[in-house]
């Protein structure tokens, strides 16, 4: 650990007391800007803090995602939490521990090195000194900036970090009260908001009497432009009226997406901003191999539809949300509602699993706007299943075209990769836009700012993992960015990595085949990074990979590899598929190198969850548009992987505890898709290059 290089989160929030406090006896307040999305981050961060402070985990009170308290760490996204928030807290806690020990040493008239800490109590030669953090808390002013001067513990001294810890939040989640959906406030006003059929769609006249008739108890109808909300004290009545409104609403104008808005051919024909990310080298003479791969729209499909609460007292707006970024949301809300951001308090409350920019922020705007229209009441907005599946931003459709020629020993030469992609980042505040759908529906809403791609410094958007990790001399990489794509798309777990890794790893298999080489051996011969090679070798051993396995016989194994963002965790996966008219992934093995793994069981849970979700994306998921509308209004029309379809999963973490932790929350998406795609190509004897590998596509390939 380099002491003088502060992690980004700490450079942005340098004061120690933004992160830590000893406010109550026997307790430590640890604040983080990162929020619990179901990924277990709060447990991991608690482990890191408790380790450096030498206090028991149970003494920590975690404050998370509150604009009134705690650091601003932007969004909880991109697998950065352990690196940034964990990295900041490691330095902060080490420094705080050192400050306290120094003070204790002065009082005891000894050297700080003679003291150690046992569950917050300072000891000398193993005997109590009578001092602890809480007794000395008044002596030490934490309203100072971190210097990064205290050395954190060496890995060898870890007692908590690197050992599995049960999730602190899980017990409450098997039961009631843990979620934002469960918050109850006096004088609650329930609300439903009608979602525009497509972007810019204008709502026609609506028979308000029919809505009132549908409600059993009194409701209010609030309409501003194409923003229509139903409010009332009785939730069932509000929902009944909303159901009628959804059915009767007539929409016109706006940007109706065409049915083929996710197809590779359509994407490649759209006007796009071209950007050369890497120049590459002139195309090699010799026979060029080219292939184009694609993915469609993927829905976040969280099990709990979005929910938010808000209260306006005439001067101050309080918002409760499951957003991934309370500070950026506050800025956008304030801007859209014409408020000073300091008049807005945004607090994170937990919800169902979140895998990217879903409907949470939009629901928060709905609630905030309605609260301002009904001062003094707490407004609770609950999205429906159809809202969640169709109105939340989608994961962006992409087409990826690869080309190379085979050089000496079958090595690829003249490698090129072209990406056509809809935007991967339209979060609140990004690219100078408000980016809240409720605000877009209001009359007089400002015209939309065309989005940009996710900045390179954030690990790229459409070009995430576009750099193949192989020794290719030079690669040519070009993005064709579709800022004007009519469908609202944004960040979904892995961003461009899902399609890029699927494409690159499929193409490597195709080249291996053309070169007459085994896909595992071929990769190993092209990979310069020893850690990458080691994960591939590990997974090949786990799965009993055999170079002479027969192809075209209905069952086969396939491999996929990537290092997430080319700088986070490594993962190599092997899938075993069985195939008739449908694909069944029977087993999936993977080896992950994530450096030091803070909470091994939590990490395994995350990786396996990613594998299962990516299997679902790969086999089943894509949203179809018909007459401008997303056709995925229910689980029936947007099926996801079920218990009976989930593969057996075996995960091995490489023993790399001496290396810094590498983000792993999104590591599984690309390699899983690639491993399945390559296994299917072998089992089928033909390659399907468009995701998902659906029944229709398998049947078409069989004919």
């Amino acid at each position: 650990m380099i002491a003088n290089q502060l992690p980004r989160s700490l450079a942005d929030n340098p004061r120690l007391d933004a992160w830590i406090g000893f406010d109550a006896p026997g307790q430590v307040r640890i604040a983080t800007g990162k929020v619990e999305l179901g990924q277990g981050v709060l447990t991991t961060i608690a482990q890191i803090a408790a380790e450096e402070l030498d206090v028991a985990l149970r003494r920590l009170r975690l404050v998370s995602g509150d604009t009134g308290e705690g650091p601003n760490e932007g969004y909880t996204a991109g697998s950065y939490s352990v690196e940034n928030s964990g990295g900041a807290l490691r330095i902060v806690c080490a420094e705080v521990r050192a400050l306290f020990l120094e003070r204790a040493a002065t009082l005891l008239d000894c050297a700080a090195q003679e003291l150690d800490v046992e569950d917050g109590a300072f000891r000398r030669d193993g005997r109590p000194t009578g001092f602890d953090y809480w007794r000395l808390a008044g002596d030490i002013d934490l309203s100072r900036e971190a210097t990064g001067g205290a050395a954190p513990k060496p890995v060898a001294a870890y007692r908590l970090v690197g050992h599995s810890q049960p999730r602190t939040d899980l017990p409450d989640k098997i039961g009631g009260g843990a979620f934002i959906h469960d918050m109850r406030m006096p004088d609650l006003l329930h609300a439903r908001v009608l979602r525009q059929a497509w972007r810019g769609a204008e709502l026609g006249a609506l028979d308000e009497r029919a809505l009132h008739r549908a409600a059993r108890r009194p409701i209010e109808i609030l309409r501003e432009g194409s923003f229509l909300a139903l409010l009332g004290a009785d939730e069932a009545s509000v929902e009944a009226a909303a159901a009628v409104a959804r059915e009767k609403a007539a929409w016109s104008g706006g940007e109706r997406p065409p049915d083929e808005a996710a197809e590779a051919g359509w994407l490649m024909a759209q006007p796009a901003a071209e950007r050369v990310i890497a120049e590459g080298e002139p195309a090699e003479a010799g026979e060029r191999i080219e292939a184009t791969y694609s993915r469609g729209f993927i829905a976040h499909a969280s099990i709990g539809p979005s929910c938010a609460l808000a209260h306006w007292d005439g001067t101050r707006l309080d918002v409760w949300t499951h957003s991934q970024g309370v500070y950026p949301l506050r800025q956008s809300l304030a801007r859209a509602l014409g408020l000073d951001p300091v008049a807005v308090a945004v607090r994170h409350r937990q919800a169902a699993g979140c895998y990217g920019h879903n409907g949470a922020d939009d629901a928060a705007f709905d609630a905030a706007l309605l609260a301002m229209r009904r001062p003094g009441r707490t407004v609770r907005v609950q999205w429906t299943r159809a809202d969640e599946l169709t109105a939340a931003p989608f994961g962006a459709p992409m087409a990826v075209r690869l080309g190379a020629a085979l050089g000496p020993q079958g090595r690829p030469a003249g490698w090129s990769l072209d990406i056509w992609s809809a935007p991967h980042g339209q979060r609140p505040g990004m690219h100078g836009a408000v980016n809240l759908i409720g605000a877009e529906a209001l009359s007089g809403a400002p015209s939309r700012v065309p989005p940009g791609d996710v900045p390179d410094a954030n690990g790229f958007g459409s070009a995430r993992n576009a750099f193949a990790p192989y020794d290719l001399r030079a690669q040519r990489i070009v993005t064709h960015f579709l800022a004007g794509h009519p469908v609202r798309t944004s960040s979904l777990r892995g961003l461009g990595a899902f399609a890029n890794v699927f494409a690159i790893e499929s193409f490597i298999d195709e080249l291996a085949e053309a070169a007459g080489q085994d896909p595992v051996a071929y990769r190993l011969s092209l990979l310069p990074d020893p850690r990458a090679r080691a994960t591939i070798e590990a997974v090949a051993a786990m799965a009993g990979w055999s170079p002479d396995a027969p192809a075209g016989e209905g069952t086969a194994k396939g491999i996929g590899f990537s290092r997430y963002k080319n700088k986070a965790a490594y993962m190599a996966a092997i899938a075993e598929v069985e195939l008739d008219e449908e694909v069944r992934v029977a087993r999936l093995w993977c080896a992950v190198d994530a450096g030091l793994v803070v909470n091994p069981d939590g990490a395994a849970n995350q990786v396996e969850g990613g594998i299962v979700q990516a299997t679902s994306w790969t086999l089943k998921e894509s949203v179809r548009f018909r007459e401008g509308r997303a056709g995925c209004t229910q689980w029936d029309t947007y099926p996801i992987l079920r218990f009976s379809e989930v593969p057996a999963v075996e995960i091995r973490f490489m023993d790399m505890a001496s290396e810094p932790p590498l983000g792993l929350g999104e590591v599984a998406q690309g390699p899983t898709a690639a491993a399945i795609g390559n296994a299917v190509a072998r089992a089928l004897g033909a390659r399907i290059r468009d995701l998902p590998l659906s029944r229709e596509r398998i049947i078409a390939a069989l004919m």
Partner: protein, 165 residues
């Protein structure tokens, strides 16, 4: 507008007798979460397609989201909040924690209720039986394999205790 007349129905929830207004086909889930404050049963779709709302009605799994509250008149409803009274539910919850069978946890209450009904029927289910019993439940976080192991772990624990219902 005039308010519709109430329709009072009486039933048992987790061993407690309650009386609620069930007029207008108000769903059981709304009554449980709203009127009775039992927020462990969750809203996921309202369409009988995800299982987040699963409760037991006279011991059998039932979707609370679309079932009208009046339909449970004079019946016995059990929700995840029954964990304090029901040793099998308690064993299931403990097994889920032991296996760390959860990420966001939103799907879990409903799944545990289906598992409760399974264990009443089949005290030592094999993997296939657990999968079949849970197949109508969705989990977006991908915790399926841990969940199946947790149910089998609870079954084994209960068998060892000799307490399985």
């Amino acid at each position: 507008m005039s308010e519709a007349a109430p329709l009072m129905v009486r039933f048992t929830v987790n061993g407690r007798s309650v009386e609620v207004d069930a007029a207008g086909d108000v769903p059981l889930l709304a009554v449980l979460r709203g009127d009775l404050g039992l927020t462990g049963s969750r809203f996921g779709c309202g369409l009988e397609q995800c299982g987040a709302c699963m409760v037991l009605v006279d011991g059998a799994p039932a979707y609370a989201c679309s079932r009208p509250a009046w339909s449970v008149a004079d019946r016995s409803v059990a929700t995840i909040e029954d964990v304090g009274r029901d040793p099998v539910l308690a064993a299931l919850k403990q097994a889920f924690l032991d296996e760390q069978a959860g990420q966001c946890g939103y799907c879990l209450s409903g799944i545990v209720m289906s598992a409760r009904a399974l264990l009443a029927r089949e005290p030592s289910p094999d993997r296939a039986a657990v999968v079949a019993a849970l197949d109508r439940h969705l989990c977006r976080c991908g915790v399926h394999n841990r969940i199946v192991r947790a149910v089998q772990r609870a079954a084994a624990h209960l068998a060892a205790e000799g307490a399985a219902a």
